[in-house]
């Protein structure tokens, strides 16, 4: 067992974990952050995307021990006292989700995309999100939602 200390959505945790434990299992089963779902075993679908020190990572492709000392934001930490994150608002307003299973990862990935490129073209949005799969929406409204959040100045 290895000891790790991580901050998840602003709360500090110190835990002993098996060295092979995946970060996503740590978040879901030890910390209880079930808002981050698992969609595949091969880091193709992106459903489990979280921010690790501000960068989006697929938490099924990171070991919990690799996250030692880091600051993690999950979908459950996106809203603030001021309300929902502009991307959460935009996904709601544009009907950018149906079953909602890919949504946490999609919103987190989009936040990283907008941090790097605050005003992406539609093509850049599509390319920027190609690591996140959605089976319900056909992506049209996801693109609209990211465009809407960009216009609202997410990173302003």
């Amino acid at each position: 067992m290895a000891e790790i200390t991580v901050s998840v959505d602003g709360v500090k945790y110190a835990d002993h974990v098996e060295p092979r434990m995946l970060l996503v299992h740590y978040l879901r089963e030890i910390v209880g952050k079930t808002g981050t779902p698992i969609g595949c075993d091969t880091s193709n679908c992106g459903a489990c995307t979280v921010l690790l020190n501000g960068e989006s990572v697929k938490s099924c492709a990171v070991l919990a021990v690799q996250a030692d000392g880091t600051d993690i934001t999950t979908i459950e930490g996106m809203a603030s006292d001021a309300g929902l994150h502009p991307l959460q608002e935009a996904f709601h307003a544009e009907h950018a989700l149906q079953c909602g299973y890919c949504t946490p990862g999609m919103i987190i990935a989009a936040s990283d995309l907008l941090k790097e490129n605050p005003h992406p073209s539609d093509e850049q949005i599509r390319e920027g999100l190609e690591g996140n799969l959605c089976r319900c929406t056909g992506y049209e409204n996801i693109v609209r939602a990211v465009r809407r959040a960009a216009a609202a100045g997410v990173n302003a």
């Binding site: 979908i75 999100l129 190609e130 089976r135 319900c136 056909g138």
Partner: protein, 816 residues
């Protein structure tokens, strides 16, 4: 959110683009997926699965696994033999159909890679997976059966003792001989519907607890009600002791319309151990063992006059059942039987489907279920006929389709289409698409031998949906009815609980059902809560699939609201001291005809019923009501889809330049939700045309077992869509038809027709799906009679220079 509730005459909720009630929990991570559930003392199950497509099990030894750390139990099929029964097939399509026994855990023989042969129950999922390595299974390999085209030959190895044929289902209408005999034009084509993996984003998961002989089973399922009945029938556990809950469910597309081995086994393991258990599949387990979709070979013949008038259609299908018949496996191709004639008039029609066993994962419903296959077949051959006759493919369709003034119209397949207007949808689609402009550009590119050729694909489709009517399903030997149930509970505070038997998994029923009830009862949208997906909360239902929820479940809501109003009227009359005959209902209140100041609201009536102080004699103290609705016909959405593709003839790469669809789905309850359903449907249909195929190798191993190999498209692989609508009301009171599958059904042939259209100058008449760059390029090379070997080398060099996005490379399912 708008505030119509406070205006004098609220605008109808139906038709408004209400934002979804479901979203708040989904965008904040406050979801309740089955895999999120943790019960005290809960154990985790892992399954050992067959590495052979076909083998006799000679021994299974789980004893070593039992002493692994953290392991509570390990079982083989023998441990369940007395209680596990056989997984059900609810659609025995012919009297002599072969339905082989299908034990949830194999005991003697395995018939596909991934079939469960043993399991471990452990303290956590890691310990369970580890201990699988300690299980020893000896197999005696048997020959796999992988190709339905040869599986019926006498010398083929057998999947089951009874042979490889499950059933043959014929249908004929009109005089086919007369239609084909002497017909000036007869075309015959073979089309391949490849095998697909539904790939809902949420993997399957099941949790089961057993306390004092009472079972609660949570499952990522589309069908909690059907599942409950089936679990009782399969295991013998009394139905009243089983509660099934479908919590938040992350997509289904038919794949969660199933009674699975893992659900049955979770129930039995929980009973054996007296402790709650959980099993959640990995994606690779899911790709192998969630039922697959489609997989047909189609032989289609069409006879026509020189002016393009269709005389007859003759369809002969081979349908791959896989290793067993699951819940509706044999019925899926038959849903297509009635749809091959589509929107066209003709003199005669013949259909035959042969269901064939192979040593692969069973097939079953996947978005569209039978209708995409039929639509593909007819829409592809209509384009071939147009080419043969040198007619514009839209012109050919118009010469044959049912005119709007001819509805209701009984088709050659015996369905009565209640409404439709193919002219209107097509005219609108042509306009949005700039059909004539694109045809001109196509001519120019052809004339200049442009390496990038333009193709225009057409799909004028219809489908039967709203599964019901029960009588019709019965006549097709389906094992259940097709009604739907709804309850309205009027709460003392004037709020409303709506209980529905539909079981949404992304469709937005909580929102749309609120809109329907708001209009019927005149209560604010915000005051309505929709309950579903739990057999204890919503005790009756037929669940959600086949685009049935609105056309059947929505109408059940209307019927239940009618009953509420009827009951409320009696109490209202007493409250305002008037005769019930003099009362007038306008949504939300009763008033006395001619004396509008004398009125009472539905909320006041609900409170009066709750208090029950002054009710007339013999009136029960409630205005709650239940209704079960069973329509007398299917509904028939239709539309015209137009696709423009740019095909790079040097690389085979296909780019969808524009996609326009105009759908007529009847009355629209929520345009936002409808548009979303269309988008998602298009994506799945386009994915079949361009990207997806479940591939087995020569030994029967699934090659596409991960999402790295099975190419669910990403945002960068798909185009933006232009959507439009026309509206002809369905015959039901809401006028609704259904929209869940329309996009998927229509789009696959539109895309393939566009690709073939681009390649016509090369003399190409078909490209097998998925139309990967390699297949398109090979089709061109073959047509040009070029030197394939050296050309292939050049092609490979070019491919390595060019990123092909998410399109499959080097995978060929043997479907040339």
């Amino acid at each position: 959110m708008t505030a119509q509730a406070e205006t004098e005459t609220p605008a109808p909720e139906i038709g408004q683009a209400r934002l979804r009630k479901e979203d708040e929990r989904l965008i904040t991570g406050q979801t309740n997926w089955t895999d999120n559930i943790r019960l005290p003392g809960m154990l985790h199950v892992a399954f050992l699965r067959s590495p052979y497509a076909h083998a006799r099990i000679t021994s299974v030894d789980v004893s070593a696994a039992r002493s692994e750390p953290g392991v509570i139990a390990a079982y083989s099929g023998a441990d369940f033999a007395a209680e596990q029964g056989s997984l059900p097939c609810a659609w025995p399509v012919t009297p002599d159909i072969v339905i082989p026994a299908h034990p949830p855990m194999a005991t003697e023989e395995v018939r596909y890679v991934g079939e469960a042969v043993a399991c471990v129950v452990a303290r956590d999922r890691y310990a369970a997976a580890d201990a699988l390595n300690a299980i020893e299974v000896d197999y005696e390999p048997l020959p796999p059966v992988l190709d339905i085209r040869t599986a019926l030959q006498e010398d083929s190895p057998k999947v089951h003792e009874a042979g490889n044929k499950s059933f043959e289902w014929p249908f004929a209408s009109g005089d086919l001989e007369a239609a084909f005999g002497g017909a000036p034009v007869v075309l015959e084509r073979y089309y391949r519907q490849q095998r697909l993996i539904p790939a809902a984003m949420e993997p399957r998961s099941v949790v089961c607890s057993c306390v004092g002989g009472e079972f609660t089973l949570w499952s990522a399922t589309q069908i909690p009600h059907v599942l409950r009945v089936m679990l009782a029938l399969v295991t013998g556990i009394p139905e009243q002791n089983i509660r099934v809950i479908a919590p938040d469910v992350g997509g289904g597309f038919g794949s969660k319309l199933q009674v699975t081995a893992e659900e049955v086994l979770a129930l039995l393991i929980a009973r054996k151990l007296g402790r709650p258990v959980k099993w959640t599949e990995t994606r690779s387990e899911g790709n192998m063992t969630v039922h697959h979709g489609r997989d047909q070979w189609q032989r289609i013949r069409i006879a026509a006059d020189r002016d393009g008038r269709i005389r007859g259609l003759d369809v002969d299908l081979l349908a791959d059942m896989g290793a067993y018949l699951m819940l509706v496996t044999p019925g899926v191709p038959l849903l297509g039987a009635f749809m091959f004639p589509a929107i066209y008039k003709m003199d005669a029609y013949s259909f035959k489907c042969t269901g064939v066993f192979t040593t692969k994962m069973p097939t079953d419903a996947y978005r569209g279920a039978g209708r995409p296959e039929a639509t593909f077949g007819i829409e592809r051959i209509m384009d071939e006929l147009a080419t043969e006759l040198d007619l514009d493919p839209l012109e050919l369709r118009e010469r044959n389709w049912i005119k709007h003034e001819e509805f209701p119209y009984t088709t050659i397949a015996g369905l009565t289409y209640d409404s439709g207007n193919y002219e209107a949808a097509t005219a609108k689609a042509k306009e949005l698409f700039d059909y004539d402009g694109l045809r001109k550009e196509q001519e120019l590119r052809r004339a200049s031998n442009d390496p990038v050729q333009l193709g225009i694909g057409i799909s004028t489709f219809t489908e039967m949906c709203g599964l019901a009517p029960s009588r019709v399903l019965g006549s097709l030997a389906y094992g259940a009815g097709g009604w739907e149930q709804a309850s309205i509970r009027m709460l003392p505070t004037g709020k409303v609980e709506v209980v529905t038997g539909s079981s949404a998994h992304g469709q937005g029923h909580e929102t749309a059902w609120s809109q329907i009830v708001a209009d019927q009862l005149g209560v604010p949208f915000e005051d309505i809560r929709v309950l579903h997906g739990d057999t204890q909360v919503s005790p009756k239902g037929m669940d959600t699939y086949g685009s049935r929820s609105l056309a059947v479940g929505g109408m059940a809501l209307v019927s239940a609201c009618d009953k509420v109003v009827e009951k409320a009227k009696v109490i209202a009359a007493a409250m305002i001291e008037a005769s019930a005959d003099d009362l007038e209902w306008s949504p939300g209140q009763f008033s006395v005809r001619g004396d509008p100041d004398k009125k009472v609201t539905i909320a006041e009536i609900a409170l009066a019923a709750f208090a029950a102080h002054n009710l007339p004699d013999g009136v029960e103290p409630t205005i709650d009501a239940d209704a079960t609705y069973d329509p007398d016909n299917f509904s028939f959405p239709h539309g015209t889809h137009l696709c423009a593709t740019e095909v790079d003839t040097e690389t085979g790469f296909v780019k969808i330049r524009s996609y326009v669809c105009v759908d007529d789905i009847g009355t629209v309850v929520n345009p936002l939700i409808v548009e979303g359903q269309v988008h998602g449907g298009l994506a799945q249909g386009i994915a079949q045309a361009l990207y997806e195929e479940a591939v087995y190798d020569d030994d029967g191993n699934l090659v596409t077992s991960t999402l790295a190999d099975y190419l669910v498209p990403s945002a960068s692989d798909l185009p933006s869509y232009v959507t439009g609508r026309t509206e002809s009301r369905a015959a039901n009171r809401l006028g609704v038809k259904g929209v869940g599958e329309a996009g998927t059904i229509a789009s696959t042939p539109a895309v393939v027709n566009a690709i073939v259209d681009a390649l016509r100058p090369f003399g190409i008449g078909d490209v097998t799906m998925p139309c990967t760059p390699e297949r398109v390029w090979r089709a061109i090379q073959t047509a040009q009679g070029g030197d394939q070997a050296s050309a292939a080398e050049q092609h490979a060099a070019r491919q390595s220079d060019q990123t092909q996005g998410n399109s499959p490379q080097g995978i060929d399912g043997g479907a040339a």
